[in-house]
Symmetry: C7
Subunit: 91 residues, 7 copies
Amino acid sequence: MKVMPLEERVLVKVELTQEKTKSGIYLPDTAKEKTQQGEIVEVGTSEDFNKMGIKKGVKVIFAKYAGTEIKIDNEDYLILNKTDVLAKVEQ
Amino acid sequence: MKVMPLEERVLVKVELTQEKTKSGIYLPDTAKEKTQQGEIVEVGTSEDFNKMGIKKGVKVIFAKYAGTEIKIDNEDYLILNKTDVLAKVEQ
Amino acid sequence: MKVMPLEERVLVKVELTQEKTKSGIYLPDTAKEKTQQGEIVEVGTSEDFNKMGIKKGVKVIFAKYAGTEIKIDNEDYLILNKTDVLAKVEQ
Amino acid sequence: MKVMPLEERVLVKVELTQEKTKSGIYLPDTAKEKTQQGEIVEVGTSEDFNKMGIKKGVKVIFAKYAGTEIKIDNEDYLILNKTDVLAKVEQ
Amino acid sequence: MKVMPLEERVLVKVELTQEKTKSGIYLPDTAKEKTQQGEIVEVGTSEDFNKMGIKKGVKVIFAKYAGTEIKIDNEDYLILNKTDVLAKVEQ
Amino acid sequence: MKVMPLEERVLVKVELTQEKTKSGIYLPDTAKEKTQQGEIVEVGTSEDFNKMGIKKGVKVIFAKYAGTEIKIDNEDYLILNKTDVLAKVEQ
Amino acid sequence: MKVMPLEERVLVKVELTQEKTKSGIYLPDTAKEKTQQGEIVEVGTSEDFNKMGIKKGVKVIFAKYAGTEIKIDNEDYLILNKTDVLAKVEQ
């Protein structure tokens, strides 16, 4: 299933909390929590995204409770409005 | 009964959750739930729909609690505003 | 009593649920419920109604809880704003 | 006391429910209730009122809970904004 | 103390309910209640006040719960926005 | 610490209730209450302040619950938006 | 991790309450509280920041409950909208 966000929206894959605890134990998926970070998977047709440097692969921080949650192949995604994307993250 | 949405509205047939359980058992209609996905059945007269690629037969994702629910021949439809259509889905 | 809606408003006669049960028994008026459908009885002076095809006799679907309810000769009518008329119905 | 509504406002004398019961008994004033109908008593200086046919003596329907209630000589009046006047009534 | 309302605001001295009961007994100040009427004491610099006939000495009716209450020499005044002044009163 | 309000904001030193009771007893600081009056300490860069006569030293009345409270050297200040400054006070 | 706020947003490092009590005792980190002050760490691409003198290193006061809290290397940061930055602080 391919989801194409419309106009000023983006599709973001939500990041889960880190995979390992501090003591190095790997967490099962069910013990992870959703963060306010994610990776852009698709962008809408708005020309602003180009100006903002928002494209596929970019990591972003988004506003709390923003957007519409969807599941694709059992993973968490968000359809976010451009205005709910607050910052880019470089690691 | 034919429903013609006005101006910036669309008529969407709401998709129900999948017909089969993982173990392959078919679910009766009453055990299915409405999703946030559906198929465009009619579009209003707004020219934006053309630009957005929103036309009859296109599958879309819409915002939660958006629109006005109606029943046509005992099936669930939504009249949605253009701004509540978030993304197109290709399968 | 003749009610002339002002500017961008319409007067709609609210439809009640069907007169017969599935088994063919006629329901008394008190057992009927108001629907979100109705028939345009009068339109205001806004020129948009012409463009939208909204005129006397047209059946429409309107938003839930929209408009102002009035009784004329003991029948239920709504004064609705143009934006609360969502779709036309052809039967 | 003369009340002159400002700009886009009108002064409306609120109609009470009918004076007689169905069986023809006259109700005392205290048993009457305010309706959503009334008669225009004064209009503000907005030129729209002319276009809308809103002038002294015209009967109107107004939105529920709209406007500011005032008492003049112990009678109920409303100062209403133009947008809360929904329809004209001809009897 | 002189209070000069800014721009589109007016200073209004709030009227209290009548001084005498129907039977002619004078009420002490503490038994009086504030009304939604008052007298303009100062107007801001907005040119609209001239057009509206809102100037010092004019009696007005204002919206309920509108404005900011202040005490000057132990008397009740309101600083009101132009839009909360609903009507002029002539007696 | 010097606080420079940005653009359409002002910094106001909040006035406390009077220092003496009617009987002439001086109140300790802890028995004083904040009022809706204060003195302009700094203004932002908006040109409107000039037109409004809002500058350092001017006493003003402001809207209830408006602005952001800050403490400078243990005294109460407010950063207020231009629109929350209602009137100037001359004593 | 480098966070680049988008367009009209800034990244602010939130200041904690002072490190010493009045009696000179140093507080552990867990006893400190977040203030409404902070230091600009990054600014978005909006040209207004230049005009406002908002750049890296500037200390600012921001509105209560404004912005989105994030943790970078276990320290508290806020992504704030331009309009929630109320004043600059010079010490």
